[in-house]
């Protein structure tokens, strides 16, 4: 169990619409025992049009591997400024990553989607491993990822 408190860490557009109108959200990502090395995970948000809106967390410290998180990489160009201060270690198979951060209320029920891109060394890249709409009703529910993520959910 890895618990990370990233309150106020977000300096991206996601929190700007009204910092006072934000609430703590806990994102929980549990990986399958896929039999490989630690996974790199990029957790980020797109808007209603599918355009990149901002990154919530980057699990994995070596920039040279970010290109394997291909959707995130294409959206950001691998820009390190996008993940400045919100980077942690990669997540081992079977382990759980738990992040708590303040998300603006305006992001909920407004067509925004949380995405998780995953990559594991010597195994296939899995962009868009998870894609979950951000809705107040969706809180507390979990979904399964395509390949590496056993369950992903957010709690408010």
């Amino acid at each position: 169990m890895r618990k990370i408190l990233a309150a106020l860490a977000l300096t991206t557009a996601l929190t700007l619409p009204g910092i006072a109108m934000a609430r703590p959200v806990t994102l929980t990502t549990t990986l399958k025992s896929y039999g490989g090395d630690g996974a790199y995970l990029a957790i980020y948000v797109t808007d209603a049009k599918g355009a990149y809106a901002g990154t919530l967390w980057m699990a994995g410290g070596k920039a040279k591997y970010y290109e394997h998180l291909s959707d995130w990489y294409r959206a950001t160009g691998g820009n390190r400024a996008e993940i400045n201060g919100i980077t942690g270690a990669s997540v081992g198979a079977g382990r759980t990553l738990e992040i708590t951060l303040d998300l603006a209320d305006a992001l909920f029920d407004a067509g925004y989607t949380v995405h998780v891109d995953a990559a594991v060394e010597d195994m296939r890249d899995s962009p868009n491993e998870v894609a979950v709409p951000l809705t107040a009703a969706g809180a507390g529910k979990t979904v399964q990822g395509r390949r590496y993520v056993a369950s992903f959910g957010y709690d408010m």
Partner: protein, 735 residues
């Protein structure tokens, strides 16, 4: 300096470097196995054809990857479940599971990070750096030891651990340099210190927002052969703005899924190409054979660590503390030591002890600390100097010649120089000769002429000690034993006497093989394992100095045999000649690696006179492979001291001895063995052309005569005994 640079990283990092080398060697097998097992594509097939075949087999295909081994893996997504398989490029159908090998993954993590993530990566990189320093300093040390860069590959003599160490190093050092340097590059790349990150083209701003172009009609896929494919990613189903992404060994490009047009392309940067090449060289992925070779070379690392540690320990042990070293200001006798590996210090300690017991104040110092101003009471200087490489100063003598040259006048107290070396090298005692020449040039009076000690021979050292004692007017017996050996009791089984009629009483003494302990048998120590040419040490009663006799048998023969000639007044030979079957004698074994015949099939030319026949007879007896052996044997009279006469006839009959020439110095046609050599010159030259090794055993004068005869024989053919010596093809056992 270089030696310290070699020793300390090795001692500190030995375990780590060995672990990295062993895991690396194990990993080197995988790329080769993958290369052999992966179905290979033909040269002509294009990515478009391959992708079409795979899409037919797996309609939900999302990604196709090609490993440098040629293995092609397809990943797909069908009915909500992901799948993957190694596919046959000829059919597009899956042939094997694509899951990574857990053993390979475990080894990889051990090898690159010791399971410690970044801290482990840095530790492994430190190990690679140590390996790089060891390789570079080792290359310099091998060149110095061999006596120059051009002789880097010349044959080696000396103690076994040192030879194993250098032989392994010469075979493996290039691979180790490559592996360690590439490892450091890869670490720098992993930590982002190199500008080799893939940038890729920027995503095209607009796509056709249509779908459905057939793979077979996408120009970029059609023009790219499968052998240059790295990976092809398909667009998301239902996402019209997504594109095909193609990575090849040249670059990265995007393809519109509606029109099939190439939207963007960017070439790999020079840094990326360099990093990929280095990755291939290090891992063998894409160069499986090279990987196997590097893995094999890495296996030498633990063996070099072990032999290196033995060399270091032996050097430390061999360098005794000089107890009771006199102050330089009071010393009458100053012993200056020029030692490389430390063995000469042992001789200096023996000399110091003997002179101190004779009542002298003796100061021992390295030659590099030579300063007559600090030794005003000195009445004599004794220089014990080894030689390093091609006549260079050994480590503890650096700067001596410069200090001597800088003096306004040489000391008035006389000098004696004793050189230590190995006759197997052309520059035998060359540094000692240089010291003596420099002393003469400075008009430094000489107490004794230059003398030499070959291969740490205790006898030659004792002989020099007697000469020194005579010059000083004292009785000086130098009993030098680097490690005092334990003796075993040998029981005489039989003796055969010769030579009474020619005033050279000689006997072939055969002793029973003493029982060796299990440990000795396992380690091959003492009498558990020996060969003809090794030395039997016998300490006669009433003496402390052992006498050495060349063995005429090996442990496989099941007995210990020597040939002894009685010397007038000789303590040891008299005692041995008095032995009767059943009597016992205390003896120990000393290896004499340089005078082994070996077990290969190169021809041998054996030259011996008198008791020198002993080891040569042993070589012939052990010649089970029937290599061509030509023996020249000099004696006094055929009817009196033709040692091993019956055996030689029998060995000639069964092929162990190809040719025998004898020379008798008495009788109707007196000849010496060198005359026999000259009369057989055609045979000798032919054998040497065939790579023959010359082994000479006997007295000093005979050996000198043989060397002269050989020089005359070889000269017209552009050869010389010195050249053969340098190749280890002319060896002498002289007493």
């Amino acid at each position: 300096m270089i030696r310290a640079l070699h020793r300390w990283p090795a001692l500190v990092a030995m375990a780590l470097v060995s672990l990295l080398a062993l895991s690396g060697a194990a990993l080197s097998v995988f790329p080769a196995a993958e290369r052999l097992s992966a179905p290979q594509s033909g040269d002509t097939i294009s990515v478009a054809e391959l992708a079409t075949r795979i899409q037919a087999a797996y309609p939900g295909v999302e990604q196709i990857k090609r490993a440098p081994s040629g293995r092609i893996t397809a990943y797909w997504f069908d009915n909500g479940t992901p799948g993957s398989a190694v596919v046959d490029p000829a059919t597009g159908a899956g042939v094997a599971a694509a899951d990574p090998d857990p053993i390979e993954r475990w080894l990889t993590n051990l090898h690159r990070s010791l399971f410690l993530d970044d801290a482990g990566r840095l530790a492994a990189a430190a190990g690679a750096a140590a390996m790089l320093v060891l390789s570079l300093s080792g290359i310099v040390l091998v060149a110095r030891r061999a006596g120059g860069w051009r002789r880097w590959f010349s044959p080696l003599r000396g103690p076994m651990p040192g030879r194993i160490h250098v032989e392994l190093a010469r075979g493996a050092v290039l691979g180790l340099l490559l592996s360690s340097a590439t490892a450091l590059w890869m670490t720098a790349s992993t930590f982002g210190f190199l500008p080799d990150q893939s940038s890729g083209p920027s995503l095209p701003g607009a796509t056709s927002e249509t779908i459905g172009a057939p793979l077979a009609e996408m120009p970029l896929l059609v023009s790219t052969p499968v052998v240059s494919l790295r990976e092809l990613s398909f667009p998301y189903p239902d996402d019209k703005t997504d594109v095909f992404t193609l990575k090849t060994d040249a670059g990265t490009g995007y393809i519109d899924q509606g029109t099939g047009a190439t939207l963007a392309w960017s070439e790999l940067s020079g840094w990326q190409v360099a990093s990929e090449t280095i990755y291939m060289l290090h891992t063998g992925q894409g160069a499986a054979l090279l990987g196997l070779v590097l893995g094999l070379m890495a296996l030498a690392v633990p063996a070099m660590g072990a032999t290196g540690a033995v060399i270091w320990l032996t050097g430390r042990r061999g360098r005794p503390r000089i107890s009771g070293n006199a102050y330089p200001s009071r010393a009458e006798t100053v012993i200056l030591v020029g030692s490389e590996g430390g063995s000469t210090w042992g001789f200096a300690a023996t000399l110091h002890g003997a002179l101190t017991r004779a009542g002298q104040q003796v100061h021992v110092a390295p030659m590099s600390a030579f300063d007559p101003a600090r030794t005003p009471a000195a009445r004599r200087y004794l220089v014990l100097a080894a030689t390093y490489g091609d006549g260079d100063a050994p480590a503890s003598a650096k700067g001596f010649l410069g200090r001597l040259a800088a003096l306004s006048a040489a000391p008035a107290a006389p000098l004696a120089v004793l050189g230590f070396g190995d006759r197997g090298f052309p520059a035998f005692c060359a540094y000692a000769e240089a010291v003596e020449a420099a002393a003469r040039a400075k008009r430094w009076p000489l107490l004794l002429p230059l003398d030499t000690v070959d291969r740490q021979s205790p006898q030659e050292f004792a002989r020099w000690g007697r000469a020194l004692g005579a010059a000083l007017g004292i009785d000086l017996e130098l009993d030098h034993q680097p490690v005092r050996p334990g003796t075993s009791s040998l029981t005489l089984v039989s003796r055969r006497d010769h030579g009474h009629e020619v005033q050279a009483p000689t006997a072939i003494l055969r002793f029973a093989l003493p029982r060796a302990s299990l440990l000795a048998r396992l380690l091959g120590r003492g009498f558990a394992r020996f060969e003809a040419g090794d030395l039997l040490g016998i300490v006669p009663e009433g003496s402390t100095v052992p006498r050495f006799y060349s063995l005429a048998s090996g442990s496989r023969d099941g007995f210990v045999e020597i040939v002894v000639r009685k010397h007038v007044g000789g303590l040891c030979s008299s005692a041995l000649m008095a032995l009767e079957p059943g009597d016992m004698v205390a003896a120990f074994l000393r290896r004499n690696q340089a005078f082994h015949a070996g077990t290969d099939r190169t021809p041998l030319i054996l030259v011996g006179a008198g008791t020198g026949i002993g080891p040569l007879a042993g070589f012939i007896r052990a010649n089970e492979v029937r290599r061509p052996v030509h023996l020249f044997f000099g004696m006094r009279h055929r009817d009196s001291d033709f040692l091993y006469r019956e055996e030689l006839q029998a060995w000639a009959a069964d092929g162990r001895l190809a040719r025998l020439n004898t020379a008798s110095s008495r009788g109707e046609r007196p000849r010496y063995v060198q005359d026999a050599l000259a009369s057989e010159q055609l045979q000798v030259i032919r054998a040497i052309r065939d790579g023959a090794r010359v082994m000479v055993c006997g007295g000093r004068e005979m050996a000198a005569g043989v060397a002269d005869a050989m020089a005359r024989l070889l000269e017209p053919h552009g050869l010389s005994p010195a050249m053969l010596r340098a190749q280890g093809r002319y060896v002498e056992d002289v007493y």
